[in-house]
């Protein structure tokens, strides 16, 4: 059985190394400050014992007040998993750091989020629409798009 880490457990470890990076933590997940997200991701990937080497899935949810990114991380080495979230409060031009430099599996998934949710990813090597055509207006998965 994959061991699902509680957010609180990891939060204390992360907070020790990177103070001020955690916004919130619960049994199910860990919410990270968007400015510190790349540093936290690097920490989660490279710390022995955590070794989150596999980025299972990325998605974004529109909660009107903010966009929430949900990262499902897994370690194939230790068979454990963690859900990390980060939030973006900007609606006009939302921007978050890209994790393609750490997990290349993020490439198409970030493009998909950019396309359908309209969040830009800083540092993505080829950020353009993936499903809809260039020049399409709007981002259909946003809640205010009808």
């Amino acid at each position: 059985m994959t061991l699902a880490f509680s957010g609180e457990e990891i939060a204390s470890q992360v907070e020790e190394q990177l103070p001020g990076s955690i916004v919130d933590s619960s049994q199910d997940s860990l919410v990270v400050n968007s400015e510190s997200w790349l540093a936290v991701a690097t920490f989660l990937k490279d710390t022995p014992g955590l070794d989150f080497d596999y980025l299972t899935s990325i998605t974004a949810v529109d909660y009107y007040d903010y966009f929430e990114m949900v990262y499902q991380l897994t370690s194939l080495k230790h068979n454990h998993s963690l859900v990390v979230k980060t939030r973006c409060y900007e609606r006009e031009k939302p921007k978050l750091p890209s994790v393609v430099s750490l997990w290349r599996g993020a490439d198409f998934q970030e493009r998909e989020i950019y396309d359908l949710m309209g969040i830009s990813f800083d540092g993505h090597p080829n950020l353009k629409r993936i499903f809809l055509w260039q020049g399409f207006q709007g981002h259909p998965l946003r809640k205010d798009y009808l």
Binding site: M1, T2, D28, D53, Y54, L55, T56, S57, T59, V61, D62, V70, Q72, L76, N79, S81, V83, W103, R104, G105, A106, D107, F108, Q109, E112, L116, R129, I130, F131, L132, W133, P140, L141
Partner: protein, 367 residues
């Protein structure tokens, strides 16, 4: 005197027999050698995620059939598992076993198409594919018995399955399970040491182990590269923890290994079905669930080992009748990330084979 040459861009697809649907590859060639590949997607984008946010949890089950239509049973299963996790719904034991039987039959059916189409790409035009379809037909007959459908089954329900199996199902399944290993041997005999397959697939399109993990590959693509990772073992769902089976893995990560893993997985699936039929308990096949389900506020990620890789559904509930967010972790979209790394440096004739060895379904990639 050196000749002055220029890279040459060629579009493969979107209408091209080898692309298994509507998919375009922009190949940049230097002579015959591929120097760059850009996959162009979206020709089959139907906005299923957006549509699903406007429909009830039960109404979304048929949508999942239309993701990877070669493995509808698996898609149904992944989705209902996610909803059950979200709403905390128990499933009767008999239904769990029926789900496992269907999911494994579906894995065989999907791999038969995958391998058959792959050999088509290799140049063994239609003969192997029709051999594979001969057996797939029997699986479709079995599915028709349980749900009346041959492609989009809509068989799983939240809290179980839609019907119990009819009386003629188990004898027919028994015949299938008895004969299938012989047919797999036949494929092996025809293909495993076939000169065409060896020459065209061995050592071609290598995906190293570390890259396969970094690129979030899953399913036969990941296991072909030698990573022993299977959700059925790593994070068992349904009743997989009670069944014995092995995880076949490749050694090099070339096209041949991915083909080989699929053939071996069919053998393992037959083994799983045998055990599941033996252990199949009597009883109910469905928990009573309200027609309009209101799961409590929260979120759930349910995932399974689908034939083509890890299929996951991420659902967010706001306690209304429709999911607030419905996201599909599509294994084949993410496996396609590896396409560029596998193709660069190979000849244009290999492009089709490398692409075919990923075994994708565009309806799932584009959603």
């Amino acid at each position: 005197m050196a000749l002055k040459t220029e890279p040459f861009v060629i579009n493969v697809g979107p209408q091209h027999p080898s692309t298994h649907g509507v998919f375009r590859m922009r190949l940049t060639l230097d002579g015959e050698v591929i120097v760059d590949v850009e996959p162009v997607l979206g020709y089959l984008h139907r906005g299923i995620e957006k549509l699903a946010e406007g429909r009830t949890y039960t109404q979304n089950i048929p949508f999942t059939d239309r993701l990877d239509y070669l493995a509808s049973m698996s898609n149904n299963l992944a989705y209902v598992l996610a909803v059950e996790k979200l709403a905390g719904i128990p499933v009767p034991e008999r239904a769990e076993y029926l789900r496992v039987i269907m999911a494994e039959l579906q894995r065989i059916a999907s791999h038969l198409v995958g391998v058959g189409a792959f050999l088509n790409d290799c140049g063994a035009f239609m003969t192997p594919l029709l051999y594979m379809f001969r057996e797939r037909e029997k699986i479709l007959d079995l599915f028709e018995m349980v749900c009346g459908q041959r492609l989009t089954y809509n068989y799983m329900r939240i809290g179980g399955v839609s019907h119990d199996i009819p009386a003629e199902f188990l004898p027919a399944l028994d015949r299938f399970v008895t004969t299938m290993p012989g047919f797999i041997d036949e494929y092996d005999q025809l293909l495993a040491e076939n000169e065409i397959l060896l020459a065209r697939a061995k050592g071609v399109g290598i995906l190293p182990e570390e890259l396969a993990i970094n690129i979030s590959a899953s399913g036969p693509v990941l296991r072909g590269s030698g990573v022993r990772w299977d959700i059925r073992k790593a994070d068992p769902y349904s009743v997989y923890d009670r069944l014995e089976f092995d995880i076949p893995t490749g050694s090099v990560g070339d096209c041949y290994d991915r083909y080989w893993v699929r053939i071996q997985e069919m053998r393992q699936s037959v083994r799983i079905i045998r055990q599941a039929v033996e252990q199949l308990p009597p009883g109910e096949v469905r928990t009573e669930v309200p027609h309009l389900l209101h799961p409590p506020e929260g979120e759930a990620y349910g995932h399974i080992e689908a034939p083509k890789g890890e299929l996951g559904f991420y659902l967010v509930s706001d306690n209304s009748i429709a999911p607030y967010r419905f996201h599909v972790r599509a294994p084949t979209l993410i496996n396609l990330t590896a396409l560029r790394d596998m193709m660069i440096g190979w000849k244009v004739a290999d492009a089709v084979i490398i692409f075919g060895s990923i075994d994708i379904c565009l309806a799932e990639v584009d959603r």
